[in-house]
């Protein structure tokens, strides 16, 4: 009854920072084959690369959220940044086959509020990190068409903390921390077509289910009377699962001029598979909890362009609009979600011997969102978030 710990989900925090080119173009790259990151964005696009690439990089995400409860007093997400990284490589096996490897973190979340903030019984800290490993093969059917597919091996880790509404005689709250990890499998497939200056890519990444079989629940600062009468354990195991939804992307790229290439992407994320989070405590069934999420499938539209500024230098920019999967009534401070506009800029600079450096910056502006009738935890208020992303990468072409 006390425990409605909704593990954070990759909710709307699908992270679109999987390459510097993707980040700087507002996420709009499915219709282009620019470097080895295409392994992730569209496996079929691998076939359209005319040389081998190795890309590695990292991004720093800095989410900033303000929350204003109906009782007043704006509260801010306590400073927390988290990083993602990626590693891609492709190798052209022969005129038909290209191998690619993608290692990245397309889902993740990090929110941390002050421990004694007004929503502490809902969440204090929520973290999700995932690692996707995807070996991929692409096959070039002819000069126009190619297909690609790869299995996805996923490992994920979560951490969740919240206060419990059981008070000690000094007035302090009980505390719950859940930690767990799990593995899952899926696949990524795509087709790619090129018609002169226009290219079209469609990719599908499957649902991945991460089962947390042996999660660790730590109850601390629980009044001794509630431990000794069996209401609460000190430590126990829990089971849960995290669903990472499927994503379908359709991209249309076009060479506009010798120097300018543009791409338009539509993304569809199948969030509706996330109906609720369930937490099972095998040894303490009274603590079992379920939290409805009722996520909705969401669309995104993204437009990006790359400009060959000089022989050595490419400039990129992009803009996107992402629909939030969180419906009214289920907005939660562990995932302060709203429709958002994403703007990215960046560049690649060619060094010597096939090496390039890449940098990008993206700014995500989430619409102010007012939750008036929260159906899970009766936590109402207005949220406003910005997310800043700073990325750096290295590319080797051979």
């Amino acid at each position: 009854m006390f425990l409605f710990p909704l593990l954070l989900k990759a909710g709307g925090y699908q992270i679109n920072t999987q390459s510097q080119k993707g980040l700087s173009m507002g996420g709009s790259v499915t219709g282009l084959a620019m470097d080895a990151s295409v392994t992730f964005y569209n496996p079929a696009g691998l076939s359209m690369l005319d040389s081998n690439y190795f890309n590695v990089g990292a991004c720093l995400l800095m989410p900033k959220t303000a929350f204003l409860g109906p009782y007043g007093g704006t509260e801010q997400l306590s400073a927390k940044s988290f990083s993602t990284f990626y590693l891609y490589g492709n190798y052209i096996l022969n005129s038909k086959m290209t191998f690619g490897l993608s290692v990245n973190t397309p889902f993740g979340l990090g929110t941390k509020w002050e421990d004694n903030w007004s929503g502490r019984y809902v969440t204090q800290e929520a973290r999700l990190s995932t690692l996707f490993i995807q070996p991929t093969l692409a096959y070039k059917i002819n000069e126009r068409f190619s297909v690609g597919v790869g299995p996805v091996i996923v490992t994920g880790n979560t951490k969740f903390r919240k206060a419990l509404n059981v008070l000690n005689q000094d007035g302090t709250d009980g505390q719950l921390e859940l930690k767990g990890g799990g593995n899952g499998f899926g696949f990524n497939a795509g087709v790619f077509a090129r018609f002169g200056k226009t290219s079209v890519g469609v990719s599908y990444r499957s649902v991945v289910e991460l089962d947390i079989e042996n999660g660790e629940a730590v109850f601390s600062n629980i009044p001794s009377s509630l431990i000794s009468n069996g209401s609460f354990p000190n430590n126990t195991k829990y089971k849960s699962s995290i669903t990472l939804p499927s994503v379908i992307s359709l991209g249309v790229g076009r060479v506009m001029s010798e120097k300018l290439t543009a791409n338009l992407d539509f993304n569809f994320t199948g969030w509706s598979v996330v109906d609720s989070f369930i937490f099972i405590y095998p040894d303490y069934p009274d603590l079992n909890a379920s939290s409805a999420r009722k996520l909705k499938n969401s669309f995104a539209i993204r437009l990006g362009a790359q400009y060959q500024y000089s022989e050595r230098m490419q400039l990129r920019g992009g803009i996107g609009y992402d629909q939030s999967p969180v419906p009214d009534g289920y907005v939660n401070p562990e995932m302060p979600e709203a429709d958002k506009v994403v703007i990215g800029v960046g560049c690649t600079y060619k060094l010597k011997k096939g090496w390039s450096v890449e940098g990008s910056f993206a700014f995500e502006d989430l619409r102010e969102r007012k939750e008036e009738r929260n159906k899970q935890e009766n936590i109402n208020g207005t949220y406003k978030s910005y997310i800043y992303v700073l990325g750096l990468g290295l590319q080797y072409q051979f």
Partner: protein, 457 residues
Amino acid sequence: MCWGLDCNINSKSGIGMFLALCIFFAGCKPNLDEPKYTSGEADFTSYLAIGNGFTAGYMDNALTLEGQLQSFPNLLANQFRLANGGAFKQPLVNSGNGFGYDFITQTSSGKLVLVNAINCANQNDVDLKTLSVNDDDKKWIGNQGPFNNMGFAGAKSFNLYSQLFGKGGVTGNPFFYRVASDTGASSGLSSTVLGDAAKLDPTFFTLWIGGSDVLWYALAGGEPNGNQFNTITPTSQFDAAIDTIVSELTSNDTEGLIANIPDIEDFPFFSTIPYNGLILTQSQADSLNLLSPPGISFQAGANPYVVSNQGGGTIRQMKKGELLLSSIKRDSLLCFEKGTPQRPIESFKVLDSAEVLNIRNAIQSYNAKLRSVAIAKGLAYSDMNAFFKSLSKGYVFNGAHFSSAYLKSSVFSLDGVHPNGRGYAIIANEFIRSINAKYGSNLPPVDVNASTGVLNP
């Protein structure tokens, strides 16, 4: 080398500018503007809270400093100050055990606390412990008034204009005695609650009275035993008292709120012990049946407790709808020391059907009166009777789940009748809702979880 934003600048300053820009942007936190709060048609400049222990912030069977600071009037006054509200002075006791008073035994004590204990079945359990009273908290501070919080535990409707009420002790009320501007030492007649309150020139009031008019009858198990204090105020007397009080309070067209009275069944003190809590095995039932007088029988499972009839002598089994007082020691029920034919529960720990009906009828009639007066005077009205009933379905605020049961995450304090801090905060939010609806103000609710709830050992 260049990183993107301004590529005509040389490499080092290009990187520098880019990073500077990023840090500049990344340093920007989102802002949300708080609404502008207004009082609407209400004038909160001088707020008077008048009533009984629920208005005083009485909890855990005592008037304590933390209870007063978390009283609903103090919370309301804090919110009123966001609009045009003024200072709110309470007759504060010292920090510590507080001052409680039992009007049946006419004894004082400190507050209740929960302690770890081993029960009669040798299990880990909790028990209530009464702390000692600090005699300083009984002393007269009436020269420091006037006070905005004029809620006094035990105050009945007609007490509010009584010139005996400030005399303290057995005649008056020890809580008003502390606060009364004149305790009648020279004239024999004290100042009155309404008289002292009028010195505030109130511009807004809350009136929540009538609970004590039935509560002490209920706490005495429906057996006043000649003690006038433990009788139900007759409805005609209550109605007249309300007319007097409200006319006085609204004599300057003062605006305010009237709240009605919850049913006592909605207090855990009367609802925690079930009438049929005698759980027996077949063999226990068989052996009790052997010794039972005619008309009393037992079976395996849940059985009604056996109680004495009023006046003693005869015994009977309880019926559904009858209530047991939580002042029965839990241990005695747990280990069959009470509630059997051999050891019946005393009748003054039981509210039988007739007594429950007396109480229910009185509350219904009081509430009809309170409602009609609120409507006639154009005052805000808060249906606390319905609200306390709704609490039994649970209440959630920012992830904290509350119940109206005893202990655990209850909205009630350890005395099982008065709310705890979070309970008072939930009530304050209900009052704010009624006030906003009536007067067009837009006062925000309070953060319920900023107050304290049940404190567990």
